[in-house]
Amino acid sequence: MLTVPPAAPTVDRLNPWGVHAARILQVHAEIPDVVTYELEFHDPAVRARYRFQPGQFNMLYLPGIGEAAISLSSDPGRPERLWHTVRAVGNVTRALARRTAGDQVLVRGPFGSSWPLEKCRGHDLVIAAGGLGLAPLRPVLYHLAGHRSEYGSVTLLYGARRPRALLYTSEYDVWRAAGIDVLTTVDLGDDAWQGNIGVVPAMVERLPLEPARTWVFTCGPEIMMRFVIFAVLARRVSPRDVYLSLERNMNCAVGFCGHCQLGPAFICKHGPVFSYEQMRPYLDIEDF
């Protein structure tokens, strides 16, 4: 059986359907169609007891429109204000895009498993992200920046389609200053772009690494993650030390609705973060 992480201590302990009102404090435009919302719970008691782990997600709810599962992308050490980076792409996220500072959003969460930051302490870490896949990894980077001495070398490999599609560019130097190697790449360069052009897996192939002491966290388009994983396994990193965050249609967030299944896993309650070893048999089956 897959291990189910202990029930995430959600804001509403008794009722997984329970929603709590939050206020948008700030809307920060990131890249075209993508913004980050900073949220704060209305109720100070809720604010005081809300905690999350890097990799977890919230269900953001707009009454009459619906819910969207959005990963937390803020610092887990500052759970009193929550950042959610959202691309306006579906019903809910498009409606969310019309909300501004001061508006209300309802929240339930946090849900799901988290990146194994405890288990990989003392090891080298390669973080391979693509596109908006950097959002659920940003809490990891904040954590690492704050606890840098507890880990070996830390490298962020991050790719996007174009230079202007790279997220959180203003923070790279902050992370570098904290001792994180930040390498970026784009699929298509422009004249101003002097950096790498190529896909994230190709950067993994170039990276010097010590397989026995390296852990890998990856999040991005599923096909990108698959090739990142092939590349690190070819370098003899153990599949037990490779973690990925999967996306499926998450609807209830607590394993009741059945939408987000992949083989034996409910992505919402067993995941979204899995070790590659757990999910290996199911990732390459077409339409599964």
Binding site: F57, G66, E67, A68, A69, I70, S71, S73, T85, V86, R87, V89, G90, N91, V92, T93, G130, G131, L132, G133, A135, P136, A160, R161, A165, T185, D187, L188, G189, D190, W193, Q194, G195, N196, I197, G198, V199, P201, A202, E205, R206, C219, G220, P221, E222, I223, M224, F227, S245, L246, E247, R248, N249, M250, N251, C260, I267, P272
Partner: protein
């Protein structure tokens, strides 16, 4: 001079575990060249003469077409093969190589490399095996780029379907 070249060759990731006795003949026909940032190493359509192994620096490959302009499609960096046409008997280079940073590279004359392969099949096997690997990586990367995977398919925004239309809770009896 050829000693420097041999040292440079030994440091290249592409030539990892390349048999030592086969390095010397390669070093003998190769030279180390330096390019300032912005320099063009070769142009699309040029006669295919020289292949490079990048020692350090980043080189962008650009493909130009009328009406489309020039697109940077890939960067080649230290340890990697740049310009495969000369060692694969192609007449013309298929892309323009522009140094993005100051770059040092081992330059090899394609015909001389091919003659070496012809003359010493073991060298030919070891060299071509690595060339094939470099091209396989390029091919895989190109496929990924073709898929244009960074669409709206984003890991931080799951959810979002049209509301499911529930079917009636009691199905009509079949063949009743």
């Amino acid at each position: 001079m050829s000693q420097d070249v041999a040292t440079a060759l030994r440091s290249l990731r592409l030539l990892e575990r390349f048999p030592e006795e086969l390095l010397a003949p390669l070093a003998a026909i190769a030279s180390v060249e330096s390019f300032p940032a912005g320099a063009v190493l070769f142009r699309q359509g040029d006669a295919a003469r020289t292949s490079y192994l990048v020692i350090e620096g980043t080189v962008a490959l650009e493909v130009c077409a009328p009406g489309v302009g020039c697109k940077r499609i890939l960067t080649v960096t230290s340890g990697e093969l740049l310009g495969w046409s000369p060692v694969l008997e192609q007449e013309h280079l298929t892309a323009t190589a522009r140094a993005l940073t100051p770059t040092r590279a081992v330059a090899m004359d394609g015909r001389q490399v091919l003659a070496l392969c012809e003359h010493n099949p073991r060298f030919g096997y070891e060299f071509m095996r690595r060339t094939a690997l470099a091209l396989a990586r390029r091919l895989n990367a190109t496929r990924l780029q073709l898929l244009d995977v960074y669409g709206p398919e984003m890991a931080s925004t799951p959810d979002e379907r049209a509301a499911n239309v529930p079917t009636a809770s009691l199905p009509s009896p079949p063949g009743a």
